[in-house]
C-alpha cells in the first residue's frame, strides 16, 4: 500500500525563534486505521521499555544486596586495611 510522506521547508518561523533553514517538517498522511496501529505499536514498545527499565533497577538492587550478603563473616576480614573477599 502506498503512503504519501511529504517533506517541506517551514514556511514561517514563529516570532522570537531563530530561523533554521535546515528544519523540515515531516507529515505522514495515514488513514485512521494506520494511525491507530502506529499508536498501538508505540504504546506496546513504551510499555516494554518501561518494564525493561524497572527490571534493570530490580536486577542491580538484587545484585548489590546479594553481593553484600555473600562476603562471608565480616569478623574475618574487617580489620584495618582489609577488603571484602571476592571470588
Amino acid at each position: 500500500m502506498a503512503h504519501a510522506v511529504s517533506e517541506r521547508q517551514h514556511q514561517a518561523t514563529p516570532r522570537g525563534e531563530a530561523h533554521d533553514p535546515q528544519a523540515v517538517e515531516i507529515v505522514a498522511h495515514l488513514t485512521r486505521a494506520q494511525s491507530e496501529d502506529l499508536a498501538r505499536r508505540r504504546r506496546v514498545r513504551n510499555r516494554a521499555l518501561g518494564l525493561v527499565l524497572v527490571g534493570l533497577v530490580a536486577l542491580f538492587f538484587a545484585l548489590s544486596v546479594s553481593r553484600l550478603a555473600d562476603v562471608g563473616d565480616p569478623q574475618k576480614w574487617s580489620r584495618p586495611g582489609a577488603i571484602a573477599p571476592s571470588r
Binding site: 486505521a33 502506529l38 506496546v44 514498545r45 536486577l59 538484587a62 545484585l63 555473600d70
Partner: protein, 314 residues
C-alpha cells in the same frame, strides 16, 4: 513487511517487542541456559542463589546477543532461505543497524553483568564465546568451509564451562568434559537438519556438508560423530564426577541416538544419495538430538543431586 489492512511501510510500522525477542533466538538461548545451569549446579562450590540466577541471566543475554549479531550479519542469506526468511531483519521489521547495535550493547552488558555477579573469569569466557560465535563462526567459517559447524560448535559448548566458572572461579576437567560432549553433539544435530534443509542452504550458498560432500557422506559423518558422542558421554563416569544414574542414562540415551543415526545411514536413497523417504529419519534424528542433550544434562544434574546413587551401593 507487515500485511493486512492496517499495513504500514517498515519505517512507520517499526517493530514490536516480540521481534526483539525473536532476534535473540530464544530456543537456542533455552538450551544454552539449561547446559550452563547444569555446569553451575554440579560445580563443587555453591554460589549464592540470586547471584547464580543473575549469572544465568547474563549467559542468556550473551547467547541472545550472539544470535542478534548472527542475524544482523546473515541477513542476506537468511532472506533467501525459507526457514529463516521470516526473521525480523530479513522481513524488514528491524533495521540491520538497529539489530547490530542491540546485539553489541547486549553483549557488553551481559559480560559486565556476569563479571559483577560472579567473577571475571566467567566474564572472559562468555566474552570469548560471543566473539567465537560471531566472528569465528558467523563471519569466518560459515560461508567458507563444510566444517563450519564442527569448529563453530565450540561456541555452543562453552555454556557449561561458563556456569562452572561462575560458581568456582576456575576451570576443571569436569566442565571440559561437558564442553566435549556438547562439541561432539553439534555435528549430528546440525547435519541432520542440513540433510532435510539442504536445498535452502544450497540456494543461500552456505557450504554445509550435504551441499558440498553429498547426503551419503553426511550420513556417514553423523554415524561417526554419534559413536564419538556416546563414548564421550561416558567420560564423566570414568573420571568419577558422575555416578550410576548418569551412566545408565548416558548408555540408554546414547543407544537411542545410535539407533537414529543408523536409521539415517540406511535411509532409502537413490544413487546420488538423495533420500526417497523425504528425509524422515534425519528429521527424527534432529528432533531426538535436542531431547538427548536435555535428558543427558538433566541426568547429570539429578545424579549430582542424589549423590550418584551411592546410597544404592553396599
Amino acid at each position: 513487511m507487515h500485511g493486512g489492512a492496517g499495513a504500514l511501510t517498515p519505517d512507520l510500522a517499526g517493530s514490536e517487542p516480540r521481534d526483539w525477542l525473536l532476534l535473540l533466538k530464544p530456543r537456542v538461548v533455552l538450551l544454552v541456559v539449561y547446559t550452563s545451569a547444569v555446569g553451575l549446579v554440579i560445580a563443587p562450590e555453591p554460589i549464592h542463589p540470586v547471584l547464580g540466577a543473575i549469572a544465568l541471566l547474563a549467559i542468556a543475554l550473551g547467547a541472545g546477543a550472539s544470535g542478534a549479531l548472527n542475524m544482523w550479519y546473515d541477513r542476506d542469506i537468511d532472506a533467501v532461505m525459507r526457514r529463516t526468511a521470516g526473521r525480523p531483519v530479513p522481513a524488514g521489521r528491524i533495521a540491520p543497524a538497529d539489530a547490530a547495535a542491540f546485539g553489541l550493547a547486549l553483549a557488553v552488558f551481559s559480560v559486565v553483568l556476569i563479571g559483577l555477579a560472579a567473577n571475571w573469569l566467567a566474564a572472559a569466557i562468555l566474552a570469548f564465546s560471543i566473539f567465537f560465535y560471531v566472528v569465528v563462526y558467523t563471519m569466518g567459517l560459515k560461508r567458507r568451509t563444510a566444517q563450519n559447524i564442527v569448529i563453530g560448535g565450540a561456541a555452543g559448548a562453552f555454556p557449561p564451562v561458563i556456569g562452572w566458572a561462575a560458581a568456582t572461579g576456575s576451570i576443571d576437567l569436569a566442565p571440559l568434559v561437558l564442553f566435549l560432549i556438547v562439541f561432539l553433539w553439534t555435528p549430528p544435530h546440525f547435519w541432520s537438519l542440513a540433510l532435510f534443509a539442504h536445498a535452502d542452504y544450497a540456494r543461500a550458498g552456505v557450504p554445509m556438508l550435504p551441499v558440498v560432500a553429498g547426503a551419503r557422506a553426511t550420513r556417514r559423518q553423523i554415524a561417526v560423530y554419534t559413536v564419538l558422542l556416546l563414548a564421550s558421554s561416558l567420560a564423566p563416569v570414568a573420571l568419577g564426577f558422575a555416578g550410576l544414574l548418569y551412566g545408565a542414562a548416558a548408555l540408554v540415551l546414547g543407544a537411542l541416538f545410535l539407533r537414529h543415526a543408523w536409521a539415517v545411514l540406511n535411509d532409502a536413497q537413490d544413487e546420488t544419495g538423495r533420500s526417497l523417504s523425504g528425509d524422515r529419519p534425519a528429521r527424527a534424528a534432529f528432533r531426538f538430538s535436542i531431547t538427548y542433550l536435555f535428558a543427558l544434562f538433566g541426568a547429570l544434574a539429578l545424579d549430582h543431586a542424589l549423590g550418584g546413587m551411592a546410597w544404592l551401593m553396599p
